[in-house]
């Protein structure tokens, strides 16, 4: 009986975190059809459809509250994937799920195109010592199986295909929370645990430094 209760609780915990055993961490597959759908997104239509996003993400996609992500200059493929993952409840966030639920595929492509067409947020110079973060970004740490951040997110922090997000100019508070969520496993929409593996190997201090490092890039 005790075992049964533990099992039920365990399953519910997993469900709550969007990690149903056996379920893929994202339903998005970047097939040629999906890629051309994303490429067909129209920024002008996207701007209108993103009217409801303004209060948190800002009129031009630059969030006033640092806990929310800035979306300006973000890659369209990444934005599309996040909207789909919110809608599919693969990235668990009740607030964003409510916004993503009424959107169809075309709406998502348009909104993604709108934010992608905006310039990145301005760089916020950091006065802290970011030595450890700089080493991780440029060289990673082979012993801990951490690739250099720049290998995927690019040396200028603008990300790359497919769906590797731009980090340059991102709010440090949001970026830090995101890495912590990957580390704890509460964010789990990274296919094959690519980011969860890396975040688990990072210390809290390294996460804080990396977040500041990327905030200090930007436009």
């Amino acid at each position: 009986m005790k075992r049964y209760i533990v099992m039920v609780l365990g399953v519910q915990l997993l469900l709550g975190a969007g990690m149903v055993p056996g379920a893929p961490s994202s339903l998005v597959a970047f097939t040629p059809q999906i890629r051309s759908l994303i490429a067909s997104g129209d920024p002008a239509r996207g701007k209108d459809k993103a009217a409801g996003c303004v209060s948190c993400h800002g009129a031009q996609g630059i969030a006033e509250n640092a806990a929310f992500p800035s979306l300006a200059g973000q890659r369209a493929d990444y934005l599309y994937k996040q909207l789909r993952d919110y809608k599919d409840e693969k990235r668990v966030n009740p607030l964003m799920a409510a916004f993503a639920q009424p959107l169809n595929e075309e709406d998502m492509a348009d909104i993604a195109a709108w934010y992608a067409s905006q310039p990145l947020p301005p760089a916020k110079p950091a006065d802290d010592d970011l030595g450890a973060a700089t080493t991780l970004v440029r060289r990673g740490d082979g012993k801990r199986l951490i690739p250099a951040c720049a290998a995927c997110h690019a040396a200028n922090g603008r990300g790359q295909a497919v769906a590797v997000p731009a980090l340059a100019g991102q709010n440090a508070a949001h970026l830090g929370q995101t890495l912590q969520a990957y580390k704890r496993g509460t964010r789990a929409n990274d296919v094959y645990s690519v980011m969860r593996n890396i975040a688990r190997a990072l210390s809290g201090e390294e996460i804080a430094q990396l977040a500041k490092y990327y905030e200090s890039l930007g436009e």
């Binding site: 056996g22 994202s26 097939t31 690739p147 290998a151 094959y192 593996n197």
Partner: protein, 164 residues
């Protein structure tokens, strides 16, 4: 009029002949011995790899079959092998089945005969046994991008306990 030295001309002919002989012998042996890529030819959609049954995230890793042999299901993606660490028994037939999520990767375990290319769109299959227990690195030996040199992982080969 371009001046060509008689010696230059001779060497151009010699080099040309050498190229023809070398290419000819490669083609002859390839056809005569029917040499072809070593792995089986089996296609898979790399873009939706994580939505397939075999390469679904929770189906990766080491599985022991009824006859005691072992199947290792792995994904190679920029920049790592998933799962990151595996443990297999020594002196046991191992079947590696690997697919790429993105670009061409390689999979190589030094001091063993395990080496294969992992080509997007195909499943690479290699059958082998590893005789010596120990810790082995497993790394990518096909340049796959800026993070290529970070793409490695660990294989623990445990002593075989079934044949004592």
């Amino acid at each position: 009029m371009i001046h060509i030295d008689p010696w230059e001309k001779t060497w151009v002919y010699i080099v040309g002949l050498l190229i023809v002989v070398m290419l000819g012998s490669i083609l002859y042996t390839a056809f005569a011995n029917s040499i072809h890529p070593p792995s089986n030819v089996e296609t898979i959609d790399s873009a939706s790899l994580h939505l397939s049954k075999e390469f679904a995230e929770d189906n990766l890793g080491v599985k022991t079959r009824a006859d005691g042999s072992v199947t290792v299901t792995m994904v190679a993606a920029r920049y790592g092998f998933y799962p990151q660490r595996i443990e297999v028994p020594a002196n046991t037939p191992i079947r590696f089945r690997i697919a790429s999520l993105d670009v061409v990767h390689g999979l190589h375990i030094p001091e063993t005969n395990l080496a294969t290319m992992v080509i997007p769109g195909f499943v690479s299959e290699v059958n082998t046994t590893i005789p010596k227990p120990g810790e082995y690195p497993l790394f990518c030996n096909e340049y796959c991008g800026l993070g290529h040199h970070y793409m490695w992982s660990r294989v623990t080969v445990t002593p075989d306990t079934t044949t004592n």
